[in-house]
């Protein structure tokens, strides 16, 4: 593992701060905090007055931590096959010049990672989520080793935004105590994850992870904590660990009056009365809230302590607030405490919760077996320049005649029966909601029934923040100044904001995530959702979508809109089966394709229809290119390709379709087979679930 944070560069600096109980929170000097009451923050030493751009800082932090992790794992010395090392990075797009996935790509290129480079951007739970995705890549056989973690930078916008929300503490973050409020931080944390068999001594085992969505509010968490509880239970279930066996909890513990009590309620729900005897600490008093890097840094803190038989302390705790853990490890130094299993939780704007379960490297715990459930496309929907009608979509593709404009047909949107006034949503949220509503309706569900909501998740492939949202916040800063920027506009400045809104309006409380691989993000989201549904038991339905919103006056040849598929394990008429999928590094499309075909037990010659960029692979009978008709797009186009394939197969007589998409981050291929009676589901290849962390 490797880290860089407000305590300094490297694991050693982090450990020394932890051991001494010395936090890294200092007055901010890198930018002006004029107009904002003085707040302390966890700025990385050596960069207190840096004039580098936030992009440069983010990449620098990520490289620092990733290189240390790589060296720590002895990865340089191993001969991994080409494309077998992946990168999963949690980060925030914030007000960077580059898109989030471009940051990841830069890091990946500089580290020589030629496997898939995946970006996760769910704000404060990004890196926790990233570790989980990394685990999935190993378990499904896509990679042999994954560099996973997160990196984030404290920018003036982040600072002003949190201030506008009224959640910054006037002193130092005192989780579960007084005064309430959080301190922001920055940095990066990375771990190297490898499959268990035959590696040098690992530092720990990542047994499982869980995700959930509060579906409650854009910035406030569900006060009952039931969202966090769901994520925790899902993680424990995957790890095969009972709540009674957990010995330590590293909480999200931001210190805010909304988060802390909700989180404690979650722990009481999951652990019952036993929660009162569990050490529960928050590392944010030490590191500040490192945002997208928080999860990874907090896990590393936990592991550094664990190796010395300790649990991290909660700094600055004086007396407990109402609804605080009974044992918040309120002391200056870490406490001696041995345990078998630990959990780490993080929560984010938009209600995205993530939890991890870890154990000692040599622990013999058997995680829950990977399932091999069949995955079907129960419904599809897309909103774009063609409107919202599937028939229209196919007709256009068939004609391969380019549309004059790639802009969404807003009239079509206004005719849909949505659960909220579409005019009150930003375009990204509006398109996503429309596509999801269409897909659910296509699946025969006007609404997700109450009892299914905890088990309905959504994964979205989104590459940029809504341009209208960015314009909105810039306008508010121009008109009123940074100290008075619009809190509402700020709440849209996370990549998972549209998905959070959508989940809230549709009541989707299952696993949620926003991912990006640049071009092909929509398809990647679908593959990820399919993987989840196939291998785990905690979801019944997964919505998967790709989204793009164009800024005003954009280049001809680009497209905007959203396309969504509802995935289910239940077969049915008109439900093509997601027979196989493959993910590989950039410029390695043939590998992704052969993996997808192998999973589907098909040959290339079986494919009737190819949609998307086929790369070096030549297909048989029919080929469609949505980009030629609708224009290029990163999230929307590739998801649209899958929607089109599903519709085509439904119409018949084509039996198998191959959809591909990819770019400079990763390549993704998916095989769809027409619904047919008597088709037996094919088990996906995988090497089991165990996975070692370094």
């Amino acid at each position: 593992m490797g880290a860089i944070c407000c305590l300094g560069r490297g694991l050693g600096a982090l450990w020394r701060g932890l051991a001494e109980g010395r936090d890294g929170l200092r007055p901010i000097r890198r930018f002006s905090t004029q107009g904002l009451p003085p707040h302390l923050a966890g700025i990385v030493p050596g960069f207190e007055t840096s004039s580098a751009s936030s992009d440069e800082l983010c990449v620098e932090f990520a490289l620092s931590a990733a290189r240390e992790a790589r060296a720590d794992a002895g990865l340089d010395r191993h001969a991994l096959g080409p494309g077998r090392l992946a990168l999963v990075m949690g980060t925030s797009p914030g007000d960077h010049e580059l898109d989030a996935h471009e940051l990841t790509e830069r890091v990946g290129a500089l580290l020589g990672i030629d496997g898939p480079r995946v970006t996760v951007s769910t704000a404060c739970s990004s890196s926790t989520n990233a570790l989980g995705i990394a685990r999935d890549l190993l378990a499904s056989g896509v990679s042999d080793a994954v560099l996973a973690g997160g990196a984030d930078v404290l920018t003036p916008l982040m600072f002003a935004g949190f201030h506008a929300l009224g959640v910054l503490t006037p002193q130092k973050c005192a989780a579960f105590s007084f005064p309430s409020g959080t301190s922001l931080g920055e940095g990066a944390g990375f771990v190297v994850l490898e499959a268990a068999a035959g590696r040098r001594a690992a530092r720990a085992r990542l047994l499982g992870y869980g995700l959930s969505c509060d579906a409650f509010h854009d910035t406030s968490p569900d006060p009952t904590g039931s969202g966090v509880a769901r994520a925790l239970r899902a993680a424990l279930a995957q790890a095969g660990v009972a709540p009674a066996e957990v010995g330590y909890v590293n909480a999200h513990g931001t210190g805010t009056s909304a988060n802390d009590p909700a989180e404690w309620r979650a722990l009481l729900q999951v652990f019952g009365e036993r929660a009162r005897r569990l050490p529960v600490s928050s590392s944010k008093g030490l590191l500040g809230h490192a945002q997208a890097a928080a999860g990874a840094l907090e896990l590393i803190t936990t592991l550094l302590a664990r190796e010395r038989g300790l649990v991290p302390q909660t700094l600055h705790f004086t007396r407990p607030r109402q609804l605080a853990p009974d044992d918040p490890v309120a002391q200056q130094q870490p406490r001696a405490c041995r345990y078998r299993f630990a959990v780490s939780t993080n929560s984010a704007f938009g209600g995205a919760n993530a939890a991890l379960v870890i154990a000692a490297a040599e622990d013999q715990q058997l995680a829950a077996p990977r399932l091999a459930r069949p995955v079907f496309v129960a419904g599809v929907g897309a909103l774009g320049a063609h409107g919202s009608d599937g028939g229209e979509l196919l007709a256009r593709l068939d004609a391969q005649a380019p549309l004059a404009s790639g802009r969404v047909d807003e009239q079509a949107c206004s005719r849909l029966a949505l659960p909220a006034d579409p005019r009150s949503l930003d375009p990204s949220s509006r398109y996503l909601l429309a596509a999801a509503t269409l897909a659910l309706a296509d699946a025969g569900l006007r609404r997700v029934p109450g009892q299914l909501r905890d088990r309905t998740g959504c994964i979205a492939g989104i590459t940029r923040i809504s341009p209208q949202g960015i314009a909105g916040i810039r306008r508010s800063i121009e008109q009123r100044g940074m100290p008075f920027l619009s809190a509402t506009a700020f709440s849209r400045m996370v990549l998972n904001a549209p998905l959070g809104s959508c989940a809230k309006l549709l009541g989707l409380r299952g696993p949620t995530s926003t991912v990006s691989i640049g071009a092909g993000s929509g398809l990647f989201a679908m593959a990820h959702a399919a993987e989840w549904l196939q291998s785990r038991a905690d979801a019944e339905l997964m919505l998967a979508a790709g989204l793009d919103e164009l800024p005003a006056g954009s280049a001809h040849g680009t497209a905007e809109g959203a396309a969504c598929a509802v995935l289910s394990c239940e077969a049915g008429p008109g439900r093509p089966r997601l027979a196989g999928w493959g993910i590989s590094g950039p410029a390695r499309m043939p590998e992704a394709i052969s993996r997808a075909l192998a999973a589907a037990a098909l040959e290339a010659s079986d494919v009737d229809l190819g949609i998307g960029c086929a790369g070096a692979f030549t297909l048989g009978k029919r080929r469609l290119d949505p980009a030629a008709t609708f224009g290029a797009s990163d999230g929307f186009g590739s998801a649209l390709a899958l929607v089109a394939a599903a519709l085509w197969l439904r119409a018949g007589p084509a039996r198998h379709a191959l959809v591909t998409a990819g770019g400079s981050s990763a390549s993704c291929a998916l095989v769809l087979s027409a619904a047919a009676p008597g088709l037996t589901p094919v088990a996906a290849p995988g090497r089991g679930d165990a996975c070692a962390a370094n």
Partner: protein, 367 residues
């Protein structure tokens, strides 16, 4: 602005509240009270055409998530409110909680205005359910001890079903309010448990009259009282409950009224003396309107009234208005009470520790 020159020896009687009513209102305002209700009709509409039927009569656009309620009205062709309606979306069904029309009248209304209403399944919930309303700044705490902590996350205008009950978070008093619809079979034992757990909360009963006083104090429209006065939603300041973007019974008339511009507005009056329904009001000798509905405000100790005034006079601070019976009144901003529930935070407070808190006074006013 305060009431000026109120003459103490006017002919209008000084108001004295019934102590029982005052106690009930105090309970609603300071702890929690329960009310057994019969004034609300509850109906479930199901069938494939339910959305279209509801859409045809609902004055608001049907943007409502599953498990959420939409608070609106049912209007007649002349755009006068017939009923207060809370529409609850549940899958493909709708639950209608209606005050002002009974079940048969509601059925007739739907049949008159929505083609396809006849094909729907229309289930009256009253025969099979009892309605208990729980209101007060600590109602959430009592209910969460009874029903479980999930209750705390129930947002305003959210609802859910549990074993033997349905819980709707709405309330028309300005305090935390929950409408419980209990299946008759288990209602008695539910209420027994409610009363038992409620002992810790000084739970007591509150009559419909007490609920009505609280509604007036908080400027909640009462379909059974001012709703009968034949006023339009524009006059009643209920435009938030209707939309000018769609068609429904009364929409044409409403658009007309909006175009021609309203000339009167219902406002909140306060007076130290009693006011009577229908009493005429003058300002500086000129008639400017009349009292629609007046009520003693137990919380404030004065009289509150809804009065229909000509627009130039319909502004807080305007006073004194002379009532025909001799009382003097002034227009005030709504609502008239600084509800305790604004300050009670389920994440921080508890009824048991309420003495340790210092909350602003219920009658504290700004300006």
């Amino acid at each position: 602005m305060e009431i000026r020159n109120v003459s103490p020896q006017s002919e209008a009687a000084a108001v004295v509240a019934s102590p029982a009513l005052a106690a009930e209102v105090r309970r609603i305002r300071e702890s929690v009270a329960y009310s057994e209700c019969e004034h609300v009709s509850a109906v479930r509409l199901s069938g494939p055409g339910a959305f279209a039927v509801v859409d045809a009569v609902c004055p608001r656009e049907l943007y409502v998530q599953d498990g959420q309620m939409l608070h609106t009205l049912l209007l007649d062709a002349a755009a006068r409110p017939l009923a207060d309606l809370q529409l609850c979306a549940e899958g493909d069904d709708f639950l209608l909680l209606v005050e002002g029309l009974d079940t048969e009248q509601l059925r007739g209304y739907l049949r008159e205005w929505a083609p396809g209403a006849g094909q729907l399944s229309f289930t009256d919930l009253s025969p099979s359910h009892r309605h208990v309303s729980l209101n007060g700044p600590y109602a959430w705490e009592l209910l969460s001890e009874l029903l479980g902590p999930e209750l705390i996350g129930l947002p305003y205008l959210g609802f859910y079903h549990g074993p033997g009950f349905s819980c709707f978070r709405s309330g028309k008093t300005g305090e935390y309010g929950y409408e419980l619809w209990l299946e008759r079979g288990s209602a008695a034992s539910f209420i027994e448990r409610l009363l038992e757990v409620g002992r810790e909360f000084d739970l007591g009963a509150a009559s419909l009259a007490a609920l009505d006083v609280c509604a007036l104090e908080n400027w909640f429209f009462n379909a059974r009282r001012e709703g009968r006065a034949g006023l339009s939603p524009i006059e009643l300041q209920l435009q938030w409950r209707i939309s000018y973007q769609k068609s429904y019974p009364g929409s044409a008339r409403l658009a007309e009224l909006r175009r021609s511009g309203p000339r009167r507005r219902a406002v909140l009056l306060a007076s130290e003396r009693e006011l009577r329904d229908g009493e005429r009001l003058c300002f500086e000798g000129e008639p400017v309107g009349e009292v629609v509905r007046a009520e003693h405000s137990c919380t404030r100790g004065d009289t509150l009234a809804i009065a229909l005034l000509s627009l130039p006079y319909a502004h807080p601070g305007l006073g004194p208005l002379d009532a025909a019976g001799g009382a003097r009144a002034a227009v005030i901003s709504a609502p008239a009470v600084n509800n305790r529930s604004l300050y009670v935070d389920p994440q921080r407070h508890s009824y048991r520790t309420r003495q340790e808190q210092r909350f602003p006074a219920l009658t504290e006013r700004v300006g």
